[in-house]
Every structure is written in structure tokens, then in C-alpha cells.
């Protein structure tokens, strides 16, 4: 019935955003323990054993990803993905703003574990206050001797570069992020080779999400067995869920893996606003498939959400009430993907353009009979044929909406108008 707070446990403690306040909550103890008591290989094993899966979207095992680095090849790089631009997601922002040192400590633990002496944080250009918070935190950590040469006498050298993006959603995709960090246009690269083999400057590289590394100090302090007792069989620990839309109390909530979606939306979020009925909700982020009230008892966990027909993605939870026009929501998302398509491959660049056109004409009452099927056909031609997942993912939400709300698409066409227009929220 409540949040399970691990990462956000001390949020609100005085001065948490600064070193003294963070150390008062036990900050940097885990890093010191790692440096003094653990070998890098033992740390990798520890993270593997904890069952931690990446929080950036794909949910890949963190320890497993680290162990893909080829033996004996140096330098190796660690890049923290703070590009958070997935529509509906605002958790990394919260973590960076409220406790930047937790992220820095996690980064330093990861760097030590994989044998990296130069790490990067790639932060989206729009996150200026968070950039400042990190810049402070890094300067303080440097002054305290946590970053630098021979850290605390351990022989470990580490430096961190904070790199500011400049407005491009695709740079959150790990290969595009690396291309961007090298100073090119942020276009994705073909995988394989995966970054672990050939990443930044052609060297072995690990890309990890902000929330993923922020979890590491807790695993090191409390042990992998403790972490593995929290959550479900295949989803360990907690996750921050970014709840938005038609809910009474939007915001970030840290939930144990597997807690029912109902708890998040109703117990914590206070239910649907304006005493209206829940129409649908969308976990994961812009690309993910829509779910219905019948899915409220599904657990907040990678596998459970996937089994229900959607994906946990980057932890968004967008709530939609009965007045929501699904065609309009599809149009906005696909327009977003069209806007953000890097233009490298044709299915994504042209496909998102045509899908936006058709969705716009339906929404404006100029749709044609068969447009829903046309959209499905376009979707089938984009998904699986795009160079990177951006194109594929642009089709998932609209296709799921056609599956569950086909009537609505057809009503727009037969009535030559959007049946929801008049009911839209008016604020002004």
C-alpha cells in the first residue's frame, strides 16, 4: 500500500544535494567499502548476483552487461545515460536534482568494477538545473578525493567528464549517444558490435542509466542477497515510476517490483481526477503499448507488464480518463517520433511522416474508410525494418490503440469529427 523506498529513502534530508548532507546519510560508505574490501571482479559478481536489471529501457542484466567487456582491453569507458527524453519519464531528473551524489557514487562504483579511469555523464541539454547540481557534486567529490588519482590510497585513478547534449531524443539510444559524444551528428550505429566490444572511440564501453547506477551503492552496502529478496523472481529491487496525466497526485513513486499497478494509480496517485472513469494507461514511455482497466492488477515488473502486452520501458505511467481521444494521443506520439527521427533510415523517416499525416486527417474529421487498416499496414512496414528501435517503437502505441479502440478510429471517420473535442479540458 505504500512506496518501498531505497533510492529515495533519504530524499528531503537537509543538504542532501551536497557532500556533507549526503555523507550524513551514509553516503560514499559503499564506494569506500568497494575500494577497500572488494576486488573489481567480486563487484561484477555481486551485481550479477543481485539480479539488478538496467532501468534505462531495455532491462538488461547490469552485471551481465559488465562481464561482456573483453578481458585485458584498455582503456574502457563508462558512460552514464542522463539523456532522459522519453515522453512521460522524469525520474532521472528527480534523482539528479534531489541526490546528485548518489548518482556520482554509483558511477564511481561502476567505474571501479569495470576498470574504467575516465567516465562520462551525458546529460540532455534541457536539464540545466540538474547539470548544475551534478557539476557541484562532481566538484565536491573531487575535492574530497573520491575522484582523482589514487583514490583514498587504493591505487584507483578516475576522472569524470560531464557532457551536455543539445536537444535530440535519439541521443538517448546508446549507440547514438556515443556517436554524439564523439562530436558527430547523433545517429545510431549498427549493432553488433555492441558498445561493450567497440564503443566510445572504438574502445570497450558500458552505457548505464542514471537510476541503474544510483542503485549500486545500496547493493554494495546491504549485499546482493538483500537486494535479491526484494521484488519478483525476474525483477529485483524497486523502480521509480513517473506518473502523469489524469491522476489526482502525479509524481515519482518508488515501488517494489511486482506491486500491482492499481496500488500506484489508486492508493498512491489518488485515482483518476475529476471523479472520472479510467479509460486506459500506458506504462513505459511514449513507445509502449496501451493497457486497459482490466490490467490494473498486473504487477509493476518487466515480465508481468510484457505478459500483459506492453513493456515497462523507462518507468513512465501515463493515466488517461474517459474523455481522452486515443486518435489524438496517437497523433502526438507519432508526430514526436517523426520530429525526433534522425533521418538516417527511410522506414522511420518517411513512415513516421505518413503515419502522422493519416492520424492528423482522422483527428480532423477528414479520415477515409480503411484508414485504421492503412495505419496498421504502415506500422508493419516500419516495425522490424528500421535501423534502430526508434522507428520500430513509433508504431507500437498506435497499433495497440487500434487493437483496443478501433471503434473510436472509425467513429472519427464516419462522423467526420473528433467525438471528444467538446469534452477536452479547458483551462484558459
Amino acid at each position: 500500500m505504500a512506496e518501498k523506498k531505497i533510492l529515495t529513502k533519504d530524499f528531503g534530508a537537509p543538504g542532501l544535494a551536497h557532500l556533507a548532507g549526503y555523507e550524513q546519510t551514509g553516503g560514499y560508505q559503499a564506494y569506500q567499502k568497494a575500494l577497500k574490501e572488494l576486488q573489481p571482479d567480486a563487484l561484477v559478481e555481486m551485481v550479477k548476483k543481485s539480479g539488478l536489471r538496467g532501468r534505462g529501457g531495455a532491462g538488461f542484466g547490469t552485471g551481465q552487461k559488465w562481464s561482456f567487456l573483453p578481458k585485458g582491453v584498455y582503456p574502457r569507458y563508462l558512460v552514464i545515460n542522463a539523456d532522459e527524453s522519453e515522453p512521460g519519464c522524469f525520474k532521472d531528473r528527480y534523482l539528479l536534482e534531489a541526490s546528485p551524489h548518489q548518482v556520482v557514487e554509483g558511477l564511481l562504483i561502476a567505474a571501479f568494477a569495470i576498470g574504467c579511469n575516465l567516465a562520462f555523464i551525458y546529460i540532455r541539454g534541457e536539464y540545466l538545473p540538474q547539470h548544475e547540481a551534478l557539476e557541484w557534486a562532481l566538484a565536491e567529490a573531487r575535492q574530497a578525493g573520491y575522484i582523482g588519482k589514487n583514490v583514498l590510497g587504493s591505487g584507483f585513478d578516475v576522472d569524470v567528464i560531464l557532457h551536455r547534449g543539445a536537444g535530440a531524443y535519439i541521443c538517448g539510444e546508446e549507440t547514438a549517444l556515443l556517436t554524439s559524444l564523439e562530436g558527430y551528428r547523433g545517429e545510431p550505429r549498427l549493432k553488433p558490435p555492441f558498445p561493450a566490444i567497440k564503443g566510445l572511440y572504438g574502445k570497450p564501453t558500458v552505457v548505464n542509466n542514471v537510476e541503474t547506477v544510483a542503485t549500486l551503492p545500496h547493493i554494495v552496502s546491504n549485499g546482493p542477497d538483500w537486494f535479491a529478496t526484494i521484488g519478483t523472481e525476474t525483477g529485483k529491487g524497486t523502480r521509480l515510476w513517473c506518473m502523469s496525466g489524469h491522476v489526482n497526485r502525479p509524481g515519482n513513486y518508488e515501488m517494489e517490483m511486482g506491486a500491482p499497478i492499481r496500488e500506484l494509480i489508486y492508493d498512491l496517485g489518488g485515482g483518476v481526477w475529476k471523479n472520472r472513469k479510467l479509460k486506459a494507461f500506458q506504462p513505459g514511455g511514449a513507445s509502449m503499448m496501451v493497457l486497459l482497466p482490466q490490467h490494473l492488477d498486473v504487477g509493476l515488473d518487466f515480465d508481468a507488464i510484457q505478459k500483459a502486452g506492453s513493456l515497462a520501458g523507462a518507468g513512465a505511467m501515463v493515466v488517461m480518463d474517459e474523455t481522452t481521444c486515443m486518435v489524438d494521443m496517437c497523433r502526438r506520439y507519432v508526430e514526436f517520433f517523426h520530429h525526433e527521427s534522425c533521418g538516417k533510415c527511410t522506414p522511420c523517416r518517411e513512415g513516421t511522416f505518413w503515419m502522422t499525416n493519416v492520424l492528423t486527417r482522422i483527428e480532423e474529421g477528414e479520415g477515409k474508410a480503411g484508414d485504421a487498416d492503412l495505419l496498421l499496414e504502415m506500422g508493419n512496414n516500419i516495425d522490424g525494418r528500421s535501423f534502430c528501435p526508434l522507428g520500430d517503437a513509433s508504431t507500437w502505441f498506435p497499433r495497440s490503440c487500434i487493437k483496443y479502440f478501433r471503434d473510436e478510429f472509425e467513429q472519427h471517420v464516419t462522423e467526420h469529427a473528433c467525438p471528444f473535442r467538446k469534452e477536452r479540458v479547458m483551462v484558459a
Binding site: F11, G12, A13, P14, G15, A17, H18, L19, G21, E84, S85, E86, P87, G88, F90, K91, R93, E97, A98, G125, E126, L128, P129, E135, E140, H163, R164, G165, A166, G167, Y169, E182, G183, Y184, R185, G186, Y201, S244, G245, N248, R249, P250, N252, K274, N275, A286, A316, V318, M320, D328, M329, R332, Y333, F336, H339, C342, R424, V425, V427, A428
Partner: protein, 199 residues
Amino acid sequence: MSLSQATVEKIQDYARRYPSAQSAILPALWAVQHEVGYVTSDGMREVAQHLGLPASLVEATSSFYSMYLTRPEGRHDAVMCVNVACALRGAEELFAYCEQRLGIRDGQTTSDGAITLRSTIECLGACGGAPMMQIDHRFEEDLTPERVNAIFERLRTEPAPSPEPPRPAAVPPTPTPAAKAAPKRPAGGSRPREKKADT
């Protein structure tokens, strides 16, 4: 046009910090924008020269990213997100209100040069505080027409933000927990909070 000595030094410093000078393109372009207000082709040529790279490469990189401005704009930047989570809470209607209030359309600047107004389909990471705006890249959330009025009023007279946000000193003062208490509303709308149901 020629960049100030301080900016040039900053660019050279970036070039030394990264394993490859090309990685310094983005931070160097930010430095140009901070000094000039936008990124001109002269600015790009100078960046190329200081990094020892072809100008065409700097231009190719620069044009990919939407945050580098190509022309002078108002003293203040007001950007409202109209992606799904924001649209669900009335962002589109509130944006129309902003246009009407300022007497300008999307992308235009008020005649006194104070405010450039924009809507964007890019989520700005404040979905929990929708409708929202970024004013000079700082978050304003849970907006209402009244709050928008107050913000615009303030911007009319406020000078442009310091071209570069205050940087921590090389050796930051040790902040006392009391003096450096956590921000009152960390992450604004991203923090769960009690809020009465809107009616």
C-alpha cells in the same frame, strides 16, 4: 566577428580534456552560444579552427541539434511542452492562452524583445507537473493562466539570464546542511505531493 579570449580559452581547455578534440564540438558550441547568444557560421568556423577540425564537420554536427540557435532571439525563452502527458492536462489550451496574452504566435518574439515563445512536442521531463514551461531552461510547473501572467510580467522587466549559469568555484565552499538545505520542491512535479483534485 571574433570570440573573446575567455571563450577561446574555454574551447582550448575542452579540447585538452577529451580523448579526442572532436568531442569538444558540443561544449564549444555551447560556449559560443553563451557568448554570442546564438551560433553563427563565423562562430562555427572559429570553433573548427581552435579544435583543428574542418569547418564542414562542425557545421554538420551543429545542425543536428535543436538547441543551438541560429538567430538572435528574445531576452527570455519560454517553451511549453505539448506532448501527451502535458496535453492531457490542458497544455494545448494554455499555450493558446499564452499566444493570446503575448500577442504573438508560436516561435515569435514579443515586440519589446523580452520573450520568445515556443511550443514543443519534445517532452521536457516535467510531465508530473503539467502543464509546464521551461523559462530559460528552468522549470515552471503546475501552470495556470494566473501563474503564466505573473511569469510573463516578471520577464518583461527582468534582464536576460547570466549567459552562463553560475559555476561552482574550483574549490567549493563546504556547505553547511542548514545553509544548503535541499530545494524546497525538489524536481517540482516529479515529486509526489498532496494535491487536491482539480474540479
